[in-house]
């Protein structure tokens, strides 16, 4: 029998009441405690919905991550300004990363706090996403900070990030996924690849502190950075990213593929980068596409990936989170769950077809 692990990447659109609560919080009309309470309610609902869909591994859909998949560590921080690095998206909108205004840098929330809550509300296996140290490193201002050097900042980030992963593993996360969505973006910022190399080195310096068994439970996710139905770096060819990405010493890779115009070259490249013991989760759901993929389409995408990736090393996933930013209303929860359902069903369909093909 063929088994294809199937995982979601991260965010599920927040329910309307949570988005309203978040906006009220930003307007000063709701306390952080009240917001947290509503986020926890949304987490419970999300976990339940994923279980009902038959997801073998669940998450809280990042309902408690404010202001975004990356911003939870700075949420409510006193030394953060909203006007950090600007990221432009293909549809013309842009986002700013937070900007550190003084040292020291301290995580306000850590992902293990969310994981702990999720574990209390499910018996299923749980996956937890954490933000990469390389993205957090971009919070340091370009003109430096008096009395708090970039090197000191980097040391603080690495130390807290390492502890965050370690706690997630200790709590019993089945998988800890490092969101490395800026990987492809880094090549836009610096086409020479130096920045990407720096980022890979940062992540590896963290991974080197874990055991082989722990690294087999850690994954790295990369994508073109979806937000509001557009992406920030889909125009960067995977051939510039993948060889370097696979030098990361993680046990799992989650690679957006459904949104690629022609996935074949990237899949072929992945085959050449694979090393024994790795599992590669190929994105078969495109969150940016408003249409819900059919299970048949998902199956087709899996079969295409299976041409290049050994079945024992293949898994499937969504290309990206559905709503990485807390105020995103571009995708409904219904559509997201519909897509996840297709992934699960399409994966099962593919398992049957692949079994037929290999005669088992």
């Amino acid at each position: 029998m063929i088994r294809l692990p199937s995982e979601n990447i991260g965010s599920i659109p927040r329910p309307k009441y949570l988005i309203e609560a978040y906006n009220a919080f930003n307007a000063g009309n709701l306390s952080a405690a009240q917001l947290d309470e509503l986020a926890k309610q949304a987490s419970r609902e999300t976990i339940k919905s994923l279980e009902d869909l038959g997801a073998e591994i669940v998450t809280d859909g990042e309902q408690q991550k404010f202001n975004s998949f990356a911003g939870y560590c700075t949420h409510c921080a006193p030394n953060i300004a909203p006007d950090g690095l600007r990221i432009d998206f293909s549809d013309g909108h842009f986002r700013h990363l937070p900007r550190l205004t003084s040292g020291p840098f301290k995580y306000q929330y850590t992902a293990d706090q969310f994981l702990e809550y999720t574990l209390q509300h499910t018996a299923s296996k749980v996956k937890q996403a954490v933000i990469s140290p390389s993205l957090v490193s971009l919070l340091y201002p370009a003109n430096g900070l008096e009395g708090y050097s970039r090197m000191q900042f980097t040391r603080d980030v690495l130390e807290q990030h390492t502890r965050e992963i370690q706690r997630c593993l200790n709590l019993g996360a089945d998988k800890v996924q490092i969101d490395f969505t800026e990987a492809r973006l880094s090549l836009k910022i610096d086409p020479s690849g130096e920045l990407l190399q720096n980022m890979v080195d940062l992540i590896n310096s963290v991974l080197d502190t874990f055991t082989d068994e722990e690294r087999s439970r850690i994954g790295v996710h990369t994508c073109p950075g979806s937000d509001l139905d557009s992406a920030h770096s889909a125009d960067i060819d995977y051939k510039y990213l993948l060889p370097k990405l696979f030098t990361i010493r993680a046990g799992n890779f989650y690679i957006a593929m459904a949104g690629e115009a022609d996935p074949t070259p990237a899949l072929r490249l992945i085959r050449t980068c694979l090393r024994p013991g790795l599992r590669v989760y190929i994105g078969v759901i495109n969150p940016v596409d408003p249409e819900i993929e059919t299970p048949e389409l998902v199956c087709e995408r899996v079969l295409e990936a299976a041409k290049y990736i050994p079945l024992l090393q293949l898994g499937i996933c969504d290309d990206c989170g559905f709503s990485p930013f807390a105020d995103d209303e571009s995708t409904s929860r219904e559509v997201a769950f519909g897509k996840i359902k297709s992934r699960i069903l399409g994966g099962k369909l593919a398992e049957v077809k692949l079994a037929e093909l290999v005669g088992k």
Binding site: R86, L138, N143, T154, I189, D190, E194, N198, L202
Partner: protein
């Protein structure tokens, strides 16, 4: 197995073989490029070693360094170790580190290349002077990527420069100073006399021109030897310096046993008093010279000319000629005396 499946598999095998061939071609091409790059790296390493250049590169986000073999040796790390920026800082002389680190931090922000000369300490005690060139590369959005640095050992060059500077100073001094007596020489006389005459005539000031000659010095040398003659020259020079001590007095040895003093600003009476004093102190020294008829000791003859530019204008050559003429008269009137023109 049906024939369609066999055909499909054969086609697949053929397509995979084609792909394999293409990959091998690409692989060969890359291997060739890699060998060229490796050869260039090797050449660069040799050149750096020959030029005594330490090179390094720091990744800005991680602080990790890549170092040339020379640099690894300098920071006392074995090959294969992963150096950090802190290793570079430890290499720099503690007194020079604040300057360097300040420039380094600035370059992380403005990406302006800089060079700085400072000391490094090798092996804990060997202090070297290096010229350090640094350049930081910054991506769009101001994110620093890496800094590369080159340190060139300037210790030998700086030592050589110091030595050359010292030698140059000595050569300059030798060009204008008489080795034996320490007085200014003829070349210096030519320069200073013209300049002095020009200045004093413009200021309507006064110039005293004194020529001194040791009496019968040739016979002294012939009878007492050149070493003894040199001692006499030195002694007379010392006496000359002891008499003419004002800042406006310029003392020269302008020939074998001939000296000159230019006095600026003083009156003729003052000049004559000093000349007379010199005549007496030389005589009073009682340096034996039995071939100096009538005296039996070393004596000198002096000729003096004088110009007060406020009332007359006499050329430098004329002043020289008049002093020389006066000296000739002193010699003719029995030596050991002074004549003024």
């Amino acid at each position: 197995m049906n024939s369609d499946l066999v055909k499909a598999l054969e086609e697949k095998i053929e397509s995979l073989e084609m792909e394999k061939i293409q990959l091998e071609i690409e692989n060969n091409r890359l291997m060739q490029r890699l060998s060229v790059v490796n050869a260039n790296d090797e050449k660069l390493a040799i050149m750096q070693s020959l030029a005594k250049i330490f090179s390094w590169e720091v990744a800005s986000l991680t602080g990790r360094m890549k170092c040339s073999a020379e640099m690894m040796e300098a920071i006392s790390l074995p090959a294969g170790a992963t150096p950090q920026l802190s290793d570079l800082y430890q290499l720099i002389h503690p007194e020079d580190l604040p300057d360097f680190s300040k420039r380094y931090e600035q370059s992380q922000i403005n990406a302006e290349p800089f060079q700085i000369e400072h000391r490094i300490v090798l092996g804990g005690s060997d202090v070297r002077i290096v010229r350090h060139f640094c350049q930081t590369f910054i991506a769009n959005s101001g994110i620093p990527l890496k800094t590369i640095g080159l340190m060139q050992d300037m210790t030998a060059q700086r030592s050589l420069e110091k030595l050359l500077e010292k030698r140059n100073r000595e050569l300059k001094r030798q060009a204008v100073v008489d080795d034996l007596t320490g007085l200014k020489n003829r070349r210096s006389f030519n320069d200073i006399s013209k300049s002095l005459w020009s200045t004093l005539s413009r200021l309507d000031s006064r110039l005293g021109f004194i020529i001194i000659d040791i009496d019968n010095f040739k016979t002294y040398n012939d009878n007492y030897g050149h070493d003894a003659g040199d001692l006499v020259l030195k002694k007379v020079s010392e006496l000359l310096a002891s008499c003419f001590r004002r800042g406006n007095d310029y003392l020269f040895r302008i020939g074998g046993e001939e000296f000159c003093v230019l006095t600026a600003g003083g009156s003729l009476e003052e000049v004559m008093q000093l000349a007379d004093k010199l005549l007496r102190v030389v005589s009073n020294s009682e340096i034996p010279h039995k071939f100096n008829a009538d005296y039996g000791i070393v004596t000198i003859s002096i000729g003096v000319s004088f110009c007060d530019f406020s009332v007359q204008s006499i050329s430098l050559n004329e002043l020289y000629r008049l002093a020389d003429q006066a000296l000739y008269l002193s010699k003719g009137s029995g030596r050991n005396n002074i004549t003024t023109s």
